[in-house]
Amino acid sequence: MTTFYLNVIHRPEMVPEYLQKDAEEGKAEDVTRSDVIRESLDIFRTQQRVAHDNDIRTTIQMTYASLFNEEAVAIAKADHEKYGDEIGSTFLGLQCAQFREKFASKELAIWLFSMEDKRRIVDEVFGKFAEVFGFLPTSTGSYYMDAELVNYIKDRYPHVKAAVATCWEEGPKAYHNANNSWYTLLDGGPWNPWIPSRRNIHCPASDADDDIGIVAIPHLSRDLMAVFDGPGSYYGTHPQNILRGMVYEGREIPYFMNIVDQYRAMAKYNRGYAYNMMFVGPGWMSKSGRWEADYDFLLKSYEDGMAYYGQLKKEGKAVDLTMSEFADAYRQDRAYSQPEVTLWKDILYGSKRQQFWFADPSMRFCLDMNLGGAMIDLRPYAAKLIRPCGVGTKHIQDASYPFLVQSLFRAGYFTHYAGEGAVKSCKFGHAGEEVDLCACRTQASFSEDGDTRVVTLDPVEIEFETFTIGVQSIFRLSEGTGEIEITRKIVSSTDPSAEVSIDEYITACYGTTEYPEDLTGVKLKLKGKSGKESIDYEYRCRGAAIDGIESAEAIVPQVDTRLSMRPDAGDVTGYFREGMAFSPMYTLGIKKTVQGTGELRTWLRVEKAS
């Protein structure tokens, strides 16, 4: 049984970002400009009509400003009555004359206020909502909802069950894309709905005690490959985002349907469950046009997208729920330990590239088949870092969940001139020659073995000067263990007498941006049958190795994480390598030598260090 859930969300924004910016050209700021409010309401009304024409129910997230607008309130009430749309609340669209008067601030992002202000704003927004509608909302959201904010909401308004909580991979890339003026630094969360930890919104909860009490929904369903390496606002189920990215020919946008269908296909990897969401603010459908597209094209793109959702519903291939209904459905049979996984394929650039994404309460990671299955992203969710954001906190705008590996921010396999980048891979060596699997493009397939998800890569060939070997990689992910089992198997050799070394390694660091962080204080440790080794990181290029390794680990106190590797058994060597200031990385590895064919099996684990 496959179910593809769909959430369509609209918000009557009185002062939408882009629309207001355009209207203001050559004029002083005025958040009460009536032509902007009128146009925005028209667009909201149009969006609602387009959804209903396609028999799609929506969640209307009332902005604070819209609660003072009788017409917006009337539309919401009427559509709730007639179509069963849910009336929820959003912390987007706070700015209006009333907000300025009460809070004396031009801040627009709820997560960036001080905690004290967040509490006051929540009470004001929910209080006004109750005054207008006579009930409290059960769904809410913003571009980002930090755990501290959601914990407060749950404490005061326990009936809230769903929230738009992050924008997937909006971080430094989104910031750069917006000429360094868009402060959604929110990398590191899951790409599909999850039950967040009460300690950090990005992390899926481990159990009922850790459950924050809502189902979190990412803002938009995004292209997992294109957005990992490009602007979030170009590639997702937001038709005008796609126009912004110029992914069209003439006025046709098959890419939108391709994204939707790839999300539908996620049912194959997630026991029949799949999800999609669309959430377009009125500012994106400005009547004066936007992103080199006139209003007719903006409207057409929205109509086409909604028509596809409508068609899927009509064919029985999609279930349109409101946010709160979805939260109930999601919780019905979702074990905390169940991972969200997908084998994403390129639908944009015409390559055959695949990436495998995994998220569970222990970690999020990505394997890139273009790099022989190398791990190019690793987030230690097990650490459940308490990392408040907003004014008065240490990080203020940086709400991303830290990585240990992010190959695009920290070089990965290819570096210029010297040093190493962050990546997890495997090297094969013979008589002074060495080949990294990162240089071996391949494809992968997915299967399940009970509660173990298995990613099996097609064998690749590694050519040494005098002989060739065939190598296959298999990743096994046993639910709830917090470990990745990795097997590197030499399946063939043209010289069965030749010895080959297999060197499984991870080169890592930590951070949330492209820029290096101080690794002082990181501990590198080896433990094995022949003894122990340990150093404190000092950028001195030191290394150590011991035979009969039992575990190689890095303790990274800055992100409260223990990263470790262990082998299955046998006579294998473990090592660590300290980096230098020009290459601020640490490496853990396990290696062995085989003759002819053979394999190395290791496990990678992330845990909370403290």
């Binding site: 355009d22 050209e25 050559g26 890339k173 750069h176 894309n177 917006a178 000429n179 490009g230 602007p231 170009y234 912004r244 110029m246 992914v247 069209y248 020919e249 046709e252 098959p254 890419y255 349907m257 391709n258 269908d261 790839q262 539908r264 296909a265 194959k268 004066s288 046009g289 936007r290 992103w291 080199e292 597209a293 006139d294 394929k345 390129d346 639908i347 944009l348 650039y349 015409g350």
Partner: protein
């Protein structure tokens, strides 16, 4: 020379777009050209459209309906 103003459809700078920076341009009505405030791009609408088309070239599947997943 009068100030530059927003041009038609908020054209972004096509050169900045190539490096994935969205930068609205201003329009110089006197010269009939767009210009960027960040890089040194300038040109008439036809040049903007030409470089925009180049930007889209990287999307080999932009016109392809893909259904096999």
């Amino acid at each position: 020379m009068a100030q530059g103003r927003k041009g038609k459809l908020n054209y972004r700078c096509p050169r900045c777009l190539m490096r994935e920076i969205d930068m609205d341009m201003l329009f110089d009505a006197e010269k009939g050209e767009y210009y960027c405030l960040r890089c040194s791009f300038f040109g008439p609408e036809a040049e903007v459209l030409r470089v925009n088309a180049e930007f889209r070239d990287k999307y080999l599947d932009r016109a392809t309906r893909i259904t096999d997943f």
